[in-house]
């Protein structure tokens, strides 16, 4: 039996395969436990990545400014400890030095572009958000988050419900106690 490649399984987990390839891959993983597990692992990884996207907004501009200030501080400190001025035999922009300088500038520019790149930003939310995550339900405002987990329970075995007043509920049978457990988080 020929197994799909890792790349094919990863693309399938993301729903990015064409119809024929998708059909062939689905048919294979229905019969092959190993590939099924790998596919599940890729799918789980996508969930985790989605969660990472929910990390509270990071002040990139401030971080970049701090990095630049630290570089300047380092340069200034270097000036202070320099014992004597060595005459330059050649232009400072020649040979290996020039290469290092250009590489540093490029690195700085690339870092700046990466940090400040115009990501698609969802509409800004200024309020309390109540939502389900892959392992629980949470209430979040700014960086403060309270998440109630349903540890050890498969997501398909959890029933979620929402109160329009700003609450969320997760209901499941606790595998350890056998009791139905209902967790709630409240926006207010």
């Amino acid at each position: 039996m020929k197994h799909p490649t890792q790349a094919t399984l990863a693309l399938h987990a993301g729903g990015d395969l064409g119809p024929v390839a998708r059909w062939r891959t689905e048919r294979h993983i229905a019969r092959c436990e190993r590939c099924r597990e790998e596919f599940a692992a890729f799918a789980e990884m996508r969930d985790i990545a989605a969660d990472l996207g929910e990390i509270p907004e990071v002040p990139w501009s401030r971080l970049a400014a701090e990095m630049k200030a630290n570089i300047r501080l380092g340069l200034a400190a270097g000036e202070c400890v320099r014992t004597e001025e060595k005459p330059l035999r050649h232009s400072i922009f020649s040979g290996a030095r020039a290469l290092v300088a250009v590489a540093s500038v490029v690195a700085l520019v690339v870092t700046g572009v990466v940090l400040e790149r115009p990501n698609p930003v969802p509409p800004s939310i200024d309020g309390v958000v109540v939502q389900a995550t892959k392992d629980g339900i949470q209430v979040r405002q700014g960086v403060s988050t309270l998440r109630v987990l349903h540890t050890g329970v498969k997501d398909k075995d959890v029933m979620y419900s929402v109160g329009a007043q700003g609450s969320m509920r997760a209901r499941y049978v606790d595998p350890e106690t056998g009791n139905v457990t209902i967790t709630n988080v409240y926006a207010e």
Partner: protein
Amino acid sequence: MLAQDGPLDARNAVKINFPQESPVKFVSATMGASRATARGAALLLDLHMSIELQNTGGSRLHGVVLRVVAQEVAAGGKASVAVPSLNVGPGETFPLRIDLQLMRPNQGAGGPLVTVDLDGVLFQDFSFFGPDLLNSKRLLTVWETEAQRDREHFKRMLAQSGPEGLRREVLASLARQAEQPQLDVRVIRRRTVSAAAAPEKHVAEFAFLKFPGAPVEPVDGWAEIAGGEARAPRIQVRNNSSQTVKYVEMAWLVSDPKGQQYVAASVPAADSDLYLPPGKTAQLLQDSELRFSRSGEPINIQKMTGFVSHVQFADGKVWVPNRQSLEDTALIKVLPPSPEEQRLSDLYRRKGLAALVDELKKY
């Protein structure tokens, strides 16, 4: 402040409050792999607590709600853990797990990070004890009323069609649970959005399902809709019963363009002091926004349906739709099962038909 980046000291991190006169006593707690970790300017608390409680009352205990309050989380940082469908005799103990994560700024004051309080406990005779800050009395009463309804249904199946009839009914329930379509819903309160980003909205009316004999009926209602978002639902209801009503909750269903129906949310009475005498009308309204999606894609809301899911009268008694009404309106295929139906079907799945029959005989 607590020592950070290490195992939690249960005595300092978590405070458990049970009133002195409580008919449920706190016996013990274990903290397992709980940790507090400093992450930059934030503190991450990972709490995995297993607690043991004891019924010290004189009646069988049928449900309990614990309130969990996290210090300094915005908007109160309030949560609860409820266990309905219990059947704990006087003197018996029972376990309850609390697993939570808390992330908060690291400049907190001293004191416990999390406080766990008893909010309410319900007994077999519907007597209640507790401060009831989270409306636990109503919730536990609704769950217990539904539990009695569904246990009676399964017992009737057993009496009429024998063990095989009961098996068919439980298998049908498990199939419905497996096929139940679920929406991803985010609820946002006090939301502000730039005018450029605000999607175009329109007002959509609710269609209503009405049950014969329901004490309260919906009259009209609407909500603002914009693609996969719905805002500010408003529903007018009339009390058709002869008793004063103090709480009404509507269930809200939405349909996608393919006609697939989903449970979107419940719309409770906004006024906690609702007073609805016989023959009078009142409006249920909530000023929140709900975003609906499925598999990461927003769903386009085509239709909204509402029905009365439960009513509480001034004397504390509750009304819930009966099984026949749910089956006649096909709502049984869309609505999640009651906690008791979920527990009984799970018992069948794990331990088989004989265990289920034995369980039903206990009531």
